[in-house]
Amino acid sequence: MRAPRRPLRILGVGLEIAVPIAVLVLWAVLSRDGSSFYFPPLLDIFRTFQETWLFTRVGSDVVPSLARLLTGYAIAVVAAVVIGVALGSSHLLRRMVDPVVQFLRAIPPPVLIPAGILVLGVNSTMKVALIAFVCFWPVLLNTIDGVDGVDPTLRETARSFHIRRRDRLFRVVLPSAAPQIFAGARVSLALAVIMMVVSEMVASTNGIGYFVLQSQRTYAITEMWSGILLLAILGYALNGLFLLVERQVLKWHRGVRAGSV
């Protein structure tokens, strides 16, 4: 794809910044008289946001939430890549495991919370385990696909040059599968945020999800909105961070695609 011409690009960047600002202004204007109990003035939400999240409740709610999110996510990605490489390398193994994978993956994750509470209790371990469970599947399926799809010519080249097993895994198979692994990991990241919030709403004494639900129950509507705002910002930031890493790791992939078009 060719880069658009300069004036068009400036227009694009301008709109990218202008549209969110316009939305915020519209929100602020429509809510400014505070006539609706459920939609407090945006400026009040900002003030509450600042009082609550900068940085009073960071230690008590944000850090525990993020720690659970990242731990669960990391466990899932590592486990899914390891198992995915094994399954992707063996047709027999994959055929054996596939029904189980499809079955487990079909379970709507929140429904596991009651079972998780029973087995693991109302604690961080349960939440981390649930986040990991949810994040595992997209990465697993994509890794299997990516490993299975490594170009046969690349494999034969490696064989004919006697590339060692370790090098074949880390320098041929994994890089080749990386674009798909990243695609799966990105889906999982969004799921991780959802699962973090849901698990905190059902069984928790801290965390951002707990805070939002607690605020709603005590009619602290401004607080509730400030929590929602924080979650949106976190999700946005996490995704942006992810894209930054992906762009760096998959620089070659973008180059190949740009070259072949």
Partner: protein, 261 residues
């Protein structure tokens, strides 16, 4: 010396519709010799090459390299595939691609770097080491693949239609490059092509194959003087004669049924 003795390859043996790609094929390639293999499309040329390279187990018969039976890819052999865009690793720079097969040889950093630079220079790409394959043209990528094979320091080079996907001018340049490198590095070359002109121009001998199930239809000696020249060699009556001879040999209908030498 490379010896192929009564090689036979049947795909899908034991299934309801087995396919006999290679029926019975014997050929010998002497040291420093340049032998081309030509045949009608579907003549099992690539099958033959993969068996010789130790990448595909034959059904019966054997391949010997210096009197040692080929079971897996031999250490003294390097391959250049037709599809350079799929045999070079797009996540590695040109020099990393060349260095990759050398990793396990532990030549030391300086010696490796020197070897890479030497081979890159000898294929006319002295400045391209830090680039990625996808930043280069097709002809340059194939040069990188040839440089990688040379740096591996093989006794014999197998080339599977290496110039089939580059334009005519680049192709002529690459043909002369290969002839030049053969003299300089003293390697044996087994060259698969469907281009009769190319086969006659490059080779000491041309092996003509029958359609599948493949046998050797004929082996044609090419007594053209060396060094060869794209213009002078090709304007010789002898060149025209040989090329017509090989052409007829390929088209001869009786080969399809019972040819043997």
């Amino acid at each position: 010396m490379l010896r192929v003795e009564h090689l036979r390859k049947v795909y899908g043996e034991g299934t309801r519709r087995p396919f006999e790609a290679v029926a019975d094929l014997s050929v010998t390639v002497a040291e420093h010799e340049f032998v081309s293999i030509v045949g009608p499309s579907g003549a099992g040329k690539t099958t033959l090459l993969k068996c010789v390279a130790g990448l595909l187990p034959q059904t019966s018969g054997a391949v010997y390299l210096d009197d040692e039976e080929v079971i897996g890819p031999p250490e003294k052999m390097a391959l250049v595939f037709q599809d350079y865009s799929r045999s070079l690793y797009p996540w590695m720079t040109v020099q990393d691609n060349i260095a990759f097969p050398l990793r396990r040889r532990k030549l030391g950093k300086a010696a490796t770097r020197e070897l890479i630079q030497d081979t890159l220079r000898s294929v006319g790409l002295g400045e391209a080491g830090a680039k990625y394959p996808w930043q280069l043209s097709g002809g340059m990528q194939q040069r990188v693949a040839i440089a990688r094979a040379l740096a591996y320091q093989p006794e014999i080079l197998l080339m599977d239609e290496p110039f089939a996907s580059v334009d005519a001018q680049t192709r002529a340049d690459l043909e002369d490059l290969v002839l030049d490198l053969r003299d300089r590095y003293g390697i044996t070359i087994l060259f698969v092509t469907h281009d009769i002109d190319e086969a006659v121009y490059l080779s000491d001998r041309v092996v003509v194959l029958t359609p599948a199930p493949t046998r050797v239809a004929e082996i044609v000696d090419v007594p053209l003087a060396r060094p060869r020249d794209q213009v002078e060699t090709k304007e010789q009556p002898e060149f025209a004669h040989l090329r017509a001879y090989v052409w007829r040999s390929i088209k001869r209908p009786e080969h399809a049924a019972t040819a043997s030498v």
